[in-house]
């Protein structure tokens, strides 16, 4: 009896964490969509008379050096930060899966060239490569998206390649081929659907890492430019004040950034447990 109860509690508690992460994720999405409506102040309106105020009833998260409301800036930034991450992950998903499928399904030279591409990307510390790419392509938000997409590419290539490799000669693919299906149809109708579950896990694990990466790039002054509100830049702007005690300028955007990444990681873990319980660690 007690064993049964423990098992139920176990299943529930595991899912509660995932459920909580999902609720948090929904909240973030709402903020991203409704940002300008929810934000109490104009995120760009400066007011030197109210500069550097600690958190108060009027400014829950305080104000920064130019008197801008930090809460409003954080809320408005949600759309940009999520936008970058979603766009980057979508790009690496589409291109990574396509390349991985080609490598795994056609083999031979395709496989060798695509694998070498993935290996070359992985031969760099990924954040450093992203820095190099943004520096070379030019300092813009779009280039942050491309850079983040490129460094995530190998993960999708590997997932898709491994699955395609295994399935290429699987019975149901052989059957589809004998039934007169062409390569393209086999790939899109028979192999791609099987890649989706592991790829989705990769997506949710990647989202957090993509946000972290984009924020890191703007923290060192790449991509997003002031006065645009973005979490990484806001932390950078607050960095100078933290050692003189004005902690709130960097603290709140940093916390929200952390929360967003944490939320995605929990979602990813939960999703993986549901889809592939064996790989749980």
């Amino acid at each position: 009896m007690s064993a049964t109860l423990r098992h139920i509690r176990y299943v529930l508690s595991e899912n509660l964490v995932t459920l909580g992460a999902f609720a948090l994720f929904t909240a973030f999405v709402l903020l991203a969509v409704l940002g300008p409506i929810v934000a109490p102040y104009d995120p760009l309106a400066t007011d030197t008379a109210r500069a550097m105020q600690p958190p108060s009833a009027a400014h829950w998260f305080g104000t920064d050096a130019l008197g801008r409301d930090i809460l409003s800036r954080i809320i408005i930034a949600t759309r940009l930060d999520f936008g970058i991450a979603v766009a980057a992950v979508a790009l690496s998903f589409v291109f990574g899966i396509a390349l991985g499928l080609a490598a795994g399904f056609f083999g031979g030279w395709w496989d060798r060239i695509i694998l070498r591409l993935a290996d070359t990307i992985m031969a760099f510390p990924l954040f450093v490569l992203a820095m190099g790419i943004v520096a070379a392509l030019g300092n813009s938000v779009a280039n942050i998206v491309y850079a983040t997409a490129i460094i995530n590419l190998p993960f999708y290539i590997r997932v898709a390649r491994a699955e395609a490799n295994v399935r290429r000669n699987a019975g149901f693919v052989e059957a589809a081929r004998l039934a007169g299906n062409g390569d393209w149809r086999i790939l899109s109708h028979h192999i791609f659907p099987n890649i989706l579950p592991p790829a989705m896990v990769q997506v949710s694990l990647n989202m957090g890492w993509a946000i972290l990466n984009a924020a890191g790039l703007s923290f060192i002054g790449l991509g997003v430019r002031p006065p645009t509100p973005e979490w990484g830049i806001m932390v950078a702007e607050g960095a100078t004040y933290i050692i003189s005690g004005e902690w709130w300028v960097a603290f709140f955007p940093g916390m929200v950034l952390m929360l967003a990444v944490f939320c995605f990681n929990l979602l990813g873990d939960g999703l993986r447990d549901i889809i592939d319980p064996r790989r749980r660690t």
């Binding site: 064993a3 049964t4 098992h7 176990y10």
Partner: protein, 330 residues
């Protein structure tokens, strides 16, 4: 012979696993004894609890296992209640064990000689200068050619049969009184099998060591054991000296098992599969006789608590409707 105190005497032993999907009643009411120097075969389908029993004797059960009762006397020690340090003294010195899949049963990244030395260091009072010589000697004693060189080999450099010889050398290094051999020949080819079994028998004879030979292969047990204990779904259903068992099996399960075992010269048509499967041991309504649902002789009398075989009896059957004893077991 029955007056002699047995080497190992297990009485009324029960064990269960607590898992997420419920309590598995793995073993129940086991009685058995092993005498000095004898070779006992423990036979049953996979899942019947043979390995669980042997792991419990050494106190190396899975963390989810709970002993629900009984005793297992070995010398003056109840193995089921002994502390970890007492058990650790006995393991590898008094009772040793060899496993199936010898390739994975050895540490893959440690030289086989070093693995034998680890056991010697732990149990035998060997000066460290003599360790290597003793380990090489142990390898030589299991007929490993060129033991000096094999001493420095890693398991992946040896064949499966050679690995099993190393396992035997490791198990016998400290001269145990009892060897538990858990499917020692599974996964080896037939000629290697015979070599391994002969080696175990030879070493047992030479040192007066008792052997508990666990197998699902009744024919193999018939070839090498003095006495056979048949297990089914966590119960001991029959125990008998080898000849007696084959000449006149008394439990319906034993009889079916014998019919399902190919012997030299038997025709394929003569073989019959045992109907049904082992019952789900997580069930709350397990019948008192766990063979009942597969048994053609079952009746309402079988609802009564199962008769148990006395631990020290040479033969016995746990059944309310045993097959008739043939007048003279030829």
């Amino acid at each position: 012979m029955s007056a002699e105190i047995p080497l190992l005497k297990v009485e009324n032993f029960g064990l269960e696993f607590r898992t997420r999907s419920g309590v598995v009643h793995a073993l129940e009411g086991l009685n058995l004894a092993i005498r000095k120097g004898e070779t006992v075969g423990l036979v049953g389908e996979s899942g019947s609890g043979k390995s669980v029993l042997s792991f419990a004797m050494l106190g190396i059960s899975d963390a989810a296992a709970r002993v629900t009762g009984g005793s297992a006397w070995f010398g003056g020690l109840d193995l089921l209640k002994a502390g970890e340090s007492d058990l650790a003294e006995i393991r590898g010195r008094e009772i040793s064990m060899i496993f199936q899949n010898p390739r994975t049963a050895l540490n893959p990244i440690r030289r086989v000689g070093a693995q034998i030395e680890d056991v010697l260091k732990r149990h035998a009072a060997v000066r460290s200068a003599d360790l290597r010589a003793r380990a090489v000697e142990a390898l030589r004693s299991v007929n490993i050619p060129d033991p000096e060189r094999r001493y420095a080999a890693y398991p992946f450099e040896l064949s499966g049969g050679m690995c099993q010889r190393v396992m035997i050398a490791l198990a016998l290094a400290c001269g145990p009184a009892l060897l538990i051999a858990d499917e020692p020949t599974t996964g080896l080819d037939v000629t290697t099998q015979a070599g391994i079994m002969d080696l175990i028998a030879e070493r047992a004879r030479a040192s007066g060591m008792a052997t508990l030979f666990i197998t699902h292969d009744l024919a193999l047990a018939a070839e090498h054991c003095d006495r056979i204990i048949v297990m089914h779904a966590g119960h001991i259903v029959e125990a008998a000296p080898r000849r007696e068992l084959f000449a006149a099996p008394r439990h319906p399960y034993t009889a079916q098992l014998i019919r399902a075992t190919p012997a030299a010269g038997s025709l394929l048509e003569g073989l019959s599969a045992i109907p049904g499967n082992l019952p789900d041991l997580r069930r709350r309504d397990l019948p008192s006789c766990r063979f009942r649902e597969r048994c053609e002789r079952a009746s309402s009398a079988c609802d009564a608590p199962l008769p148990r075989i006395d631990a020290e009896a040479l033969s016995g059957v746990a059944c309310w409707h045993p097959l008739a004893v043939v007048a003279e077991a030829a």
